[in-house]
């Protein structure tokens, strides 16, 4: 049928170690790689024959006939956390942090927060899933409450996603410990620290995790996958994604697509390109990265967005980096593709260095940029390219 490319690194940590050999038959749901240190189990999403194993990926030649309902179940256990670990669940919102590790923290009296922000522009698969599977998400939250000892579960959602709000409200109407809470309609409302600030009134310092505020935040799809693992014994082998941009059928959501299938398959399924078109962005416009037609779906893939061709701007430009937008390497890539000469680079004044990474001290509440702009102008910048979120 087709090649399935299952990357060995779909999570925070090192690449997994393959457990299969070339030529081996594998069944959908079968464990094919396990973590080395921090990481998560990886299962094959389709039934077929292992065709190749590289440093990065296991390539499977999938059979013609596939049954999506049929998969190898994760081992029986009476411990939810073990189920989550066995199922190889990682943060599906993009971070890819192993969920079982995150949930091994007990937060008695704390807050379990479902991140239903659907923060990035264009992305809509989470909202759609929330509308359709609100009950499953609420059940998943109940498991998480039990695992973490949290006293209350909040579903953090933007009010603008009206239908999702209503569906989630209905689903948790009779759940005394679960409530819907509203985020402001801005980017990056789905940032963990923004959620903690808006829902709990606690301002986390750059680099601090929500746990500091007795909170654990999980993306709604992650929670849905937790419910699947516990109830259906299903490993994390399918993903929900959004297709948008210069494709014929804009805003197309594909639910439960097998991990490992390439971007082009979904671009075609959404009617194909609108020409001319530019790069494929994997993930949201702000935090995604440039991909190719062959880029496979992973546990953290949120979207394939087809851009327009880069405008050609033969000017000297300055780059302004912000934590919530494209980082320096991506800004440089874009500048290059636009034919611009980068003459200056500045970080937003909110950016502070924490453990080798620049973080924002107050995400979503943006300062004026006069200093940075003047500094870049001084160096001869005629235009500025920035990934900042606010005006």
């Amino acid at each position: 049928m087709e090649k399935v490319t299952i990357l060995l690194k779909q999570h925070v940590g090192k690449p997994d170690k393959p457990l299969v050999e070339v030529g081996q038959r594998v069944k959908r749901g079968e464990l094919i790689a396990e973590p080395v240190g921090l990481g998560a189990n990886i299962h094959t999403s389709l039934t077929g024959t292992v065709e190749d194993i590289t440093d990065d990926a296991i390539i499977i030649d999938a059979d013609e006939d596939q049954c999506k309902e049929d998969f190898v179940h994760i081992p029986d256990s009476d411990d939810y956390l073990t189920d989550i670990e066995n199922a190889g669940i990682v943060g599906a919102g993009g971070a890819g942090f192993p969920t079982s590790v995150k949930l091994s923290n007990k937060i008695p009296g704390g807050y379990l927060i479902a991140n239903a922000a659907e923060c990035e522009p264009l992305l809509c698969h989470n909202t759609q899933v929330e509308e359709r599977y609100a009950d499953q998400i609420v059940r998943g939250m109940k498991y998480l409450l039990e695992i973490t000892d949290a006293k209350v579960g909040y579903i953090a959602v933007k009010k603008i996603h009206h239908a999702a709000v209503l569906a989630l409200g209905k689903a948790c109407k009779n759940e005394p410990k679960i409530q819907v809470k509203f985020l402001t309609n801005m980017y990056p409302a789905g940032d963990e620290r923004v959620i903690v600030r808006q829902l709990l009134g606690v301002v986390l310092k750059p680099g601090e995790l929500p746990i500091k505020a007795h909170a654990i935040i999980q993306n709604t799809e992650t929670i849905k996958r937790v419910a699947e693992a516990i109830e259906l014994r299903k490993p994390f082998i399918d993903k929900d994604i959004t297709l948008d941009g210069r494709i014929k059928e804009r805003s197309t959501v594909f639910e439960n697509v097998p991990i490992g299938l390439p971007a082009k398959k979904f671009i075609d399924a959404a009617g194909g390109y609108i020409n001319p078109h530019g790069d494929i962005t994997v993930g949201g416009p702000f935090t995604g990265h440039t991909g190719k037609e062959s880029t496979p779906v992973t546990k953290t893939t949120g979207a394939f967005l087809v851009a327009m061709p880069y405008p050609q701007v033969h000017k000297k430009i300055g780059l302004l980096e912000c934590e919530c937008g494209g980082q320096e390497p991506r800004l440089r890539e874009i500048a290059k593709k636009m034919g611009s000469e980068v003459v200056a680079f500045q970080r937003c004044k909110r950016m502070v260095l924490v453990n080798g990474r620049y973080r924002c001290s107050l995400p979503g509440i943006c300062p004026g940029q006069a200093d940075a702009v003047l500094a870049m102008k001084k160096k001869g910048a005629e235009s500025i390219l920035t990934g900042t979120c606010q005006d």
């Binding site: 603008i160 209503l166 409200g169 808006q198």
Partner: protein
């Protein structure tokens, strides 16, 4: 979602709920508030609970929010400083000048229904409309006429010396009329729906002479001479003897008819007496009165008509495919025909039923249905000739239809949207004989543009309907012959019916808007005070139906829409002028259940539409309907009107009065 200032003005008495997180210390504005229309959804989802002490919107606009507060929290007195008191004159909000000063308070409500106040020497007309929008009052005196224009208002106190005006005081009532079409809104409330005349309220221009007296001008008259038929049989010659109609040997007659139309292959004729009602019939394309002109042209003079016998046209193509679209009513007649609708055979009628067979595949082409109708009309024409010759002594009843104008009353036009998409969706306008084909022009060929008919032309067979959409909502030729809205409006002394404007519904959207723009301009030039727009079917035609209402409404002409809507026919488009809608649905489930004529416009609908229009023309508002179709809205409206006008409105039975058809058993009402 936050609301605009205009929306806030429409909801001043509704609870104030924050739409978004709001910072402490801000002055609350419309943009901080949630749309009250969404409350039911939020309450349903458990996201909103409205406490008893929740403030209403007019109390919080301009007030100060004490602390930063989350979205969807109802505002209560402890959360807000500087709560606004609507009757308080000291209002420092510069946005709203005099409008707030005129807002209502409790005393206005009380006085409102107090008739003795109203008739006392200090004639005070108090109007407690819920909406307060800027009130424009300009008082000018010239030539002894006091002219007061009030766009909308409440709590208005007028004092006029008794000898200076003969204006009678409206019999005010706090009736609620609710827009009863599902997707539409609106509603009503304090209308000054008065019994005398719509002119006599605050919105009227105080014209001059005594408006209590209805002036009447007869435009023209039409006499219908009824011939009673109790038996129909086949014989050598088509003739009427006594109460027996003899039709020439069907073999010969049908052969002649078939020969006139190329694609008609075959035709059979059947006489259906009430004993045969349980027989199978192909889908009914049309039901036609059998009538002929004895004197004058259509719409005036004398028309002869048969009572007790109607012509019924059915048909298929040679492969047995019904000549119909979106449903068909084939089956046992007593299970598939909703008897006694304006467009149906009446229970007891003898049906002269022609069944036409046309070339394969032509059923969805324009020529198919048109040829079927034309061929069948050969037969009807032969009966018409016999009717012309029938002896005067056989006339059992001479009915006089009079078209009157009421020059002092509000001028109202009825706009009937008829199908004009082509194929069977066509209508022949103004034939020579009542419901004939000869001499008529198809509205498709007329570009579907507005064509004016007098009410009597409509009632005298001026429309030969080919239209063949959903069986339950199509208007047959007989429907126009007995059109309830036209009858209701023509006989209503409180309005001045100017005419009935027919506008076709073309297939393409661009043409739809072309047509409705012409309609709007026609309405503008007519300078009418109100309009009722009706349509048949649902779906595609609702696009132009909505556009017609918009084109009329945006010219400041109060307009009411009538259509089958309910569940299946939910409007696909809408606009803010569609705030007074009448749903013609009769079916228990709110669906097109393919029961012939079930969901067509009936007298009960015409009465509701007229009540809504009079309410609107008098400056009242129609309340919004519930979010989902709820048959109780219609029932409540009927009760309100019955109480207000002290009349009894007969409601038509629906399909539940019939034995279940095959389709109802198998599709619509499966058990």
């Amino acid at each position: 979602m936050s609301i605009s200032k205009e929306t806030a003005m429409d909801h001043l008495k509704d609870p104030a709920v924050l739409c978004c997180r709001a910072e402490g210390g801000i002055t609350l504005q419309a943009s901080n508030l949630e749309d009250p229309d969404l409350f039911p959804d939020y309450e349903d989802s458990g996201l909103l609970e409205l406490p008893d002490d929740v403030l209403n919107i007019e109390q919080v606009l301009g007030a100060t929010l004490k602390d930063t507060t989350d979205a969807l929290l109802p505002l209560t007195p402890d959360m807000v400083d500087n709560i606004q008191s609507p009757s308080d004159d000291s209002n420092d909000d510069s946005d709203k000048d005099d409008s707030e000063d005129n807002s209502t308070d409790d005393t206005a409500d009380n006085a409102n229904s107090d008739a003795s106040v109203a008739t006392s020497t200090d004639q005070s007309a108090q109007n407690a409309a819920q909406t307060v929008t800027p009130v424009i009052t300009s008082g000018t005196t010239s030539n002894g006429v006091i002219k007061i224009d009030i766009a909308k208002g409440e709590g208005i106190h007028l004092e006029v010396p008794t000898n200076a005006s003969t204006t009678s005081i409206p019999n005010q009532s706090n009736q609620k009329v609710v827009n009863d079409s599902t997707t539409e809104n609106a509603v009503a409330n304090n209308n000054d729906n008065n019994n005398d005349s719509a002119d006599n309220n605050a919105t009227a221009d105080t014209d001059d002479n005594n408006p209590d007296e209805v002036q009447t001008k007869v435009v023209r008259e039409l006499e219908r001479d009824h011939f009673k038929i109790t038996e129909v049989k086949f014989g050598d010659k088509t003739e009427i003897n006594g109460t027996t109609l003899t039709i020439r040997t069907p073999k010969d007659l049908c052969k002649e008819a078939v020969e006139t139309e190329k694609i008609v292959q075959d035709m059979t004729l059947e006489i259906i007496t009430p004993d045969d009602y349980d027989k199978y019939s192909e889908t009914i394309m049309d039901v036609q009165p059998i009538a002929t002109k004895a004197e004058g042209e259509i719409g005036s003079g004398v028309t002869r008509v048969l009572d007790g016998a109607v012509f019924v046209l059915t048909g298929t193509d040679e492969n047995g495919i019904q000549i119909g679209e979106f449903g068909s009513s084939e089956g046992e007649m007593n299970k598939n025909i909703m008897w006694n609708r304006p467009g149906s055979p009446d229970k007891g009628d003898i049906m002269i039923k022609a069944q036409v067979t046309i070339d394969a595949g032509r059923n969805m082409e324009r020529i198919g249905p048109l040829s079927s109708h034309k061929a069948a009309d050969i037969i009807t024409q032969e009966i018409r000739e016999a009717l012309k010759k029938a002896d005067d002594s056989l006339i059992v009843n001479k009915e006089k239809l009079v078209q009157k104008r009421h020059p002092n009353q509000k001028r109202v036009v009825i706009v009937k949207e008829i199908m004009g998409q082509g194929a069977m969706h066509d209508n022949l306008i103004m034939p020579v004989e009542p419901v004939g084909t000869l001499g008529a022009k198809p509205n498709v060929d007329l570009g579907n543009l507005p064509i004016m008919l007098s009410p009597l032309e409509v009632l005298d067979g001026g429309i030969h309907a080919l239209t063949c959409i959903g069986p339950a909502s199509k208007e047959t030729s007989r429907h126009y012959w007995r059109e309830p809205m036209v009858l209701e409006a023509m006989n209503d002394e409180d309005i001045d019916l100017v005419g009935v404007l027919f506008v076709g519904s073309p297939q393409a959207n661009t043409e739809k808007f072309y047509v409705s723009k012409r309609l709007g301009m026609t309405i503008e030039a007519m300078d009418v005070d109100g309009a009722i727009v009706t349509t048949e079917g649902f779906g595609n035609n609702h696009i132009d139906f909505a556009s017609h209402l918009e084109e009329i409404g945006k010219r400041g002409v109060p307009v009411v829409g009538m259509t089958y809507s309910a569940v299946q026919g939910q409007l696909v488009v809408g606009n803010k002028y569609m705030d007074a809608m009448v749903d013609n649905n009769k079916s228990a489930q709110g669906i097109e259940n393919e029961i012939f004529e079930n969901n067509t416009l009936c007298p009960e609908d015409a009465i509701r539409a007229m009540a809504m229009l009079e309410t609107k023309m008098a400056g009242g508002k129609i309340e919004k309907p519930e979010r989902k179709w709820n048959p109780n809205v219609k029932e409540n409206n009927i009760k309100v009107i019955e109480k207000h006008d002290n009349i009894k409105i007969e409601e038509e039975p629906n399909e539940q009065s019939l034995p279940k058809s095959k389709k109802r058993i198998e599709i619509y009402e499966k058990e």
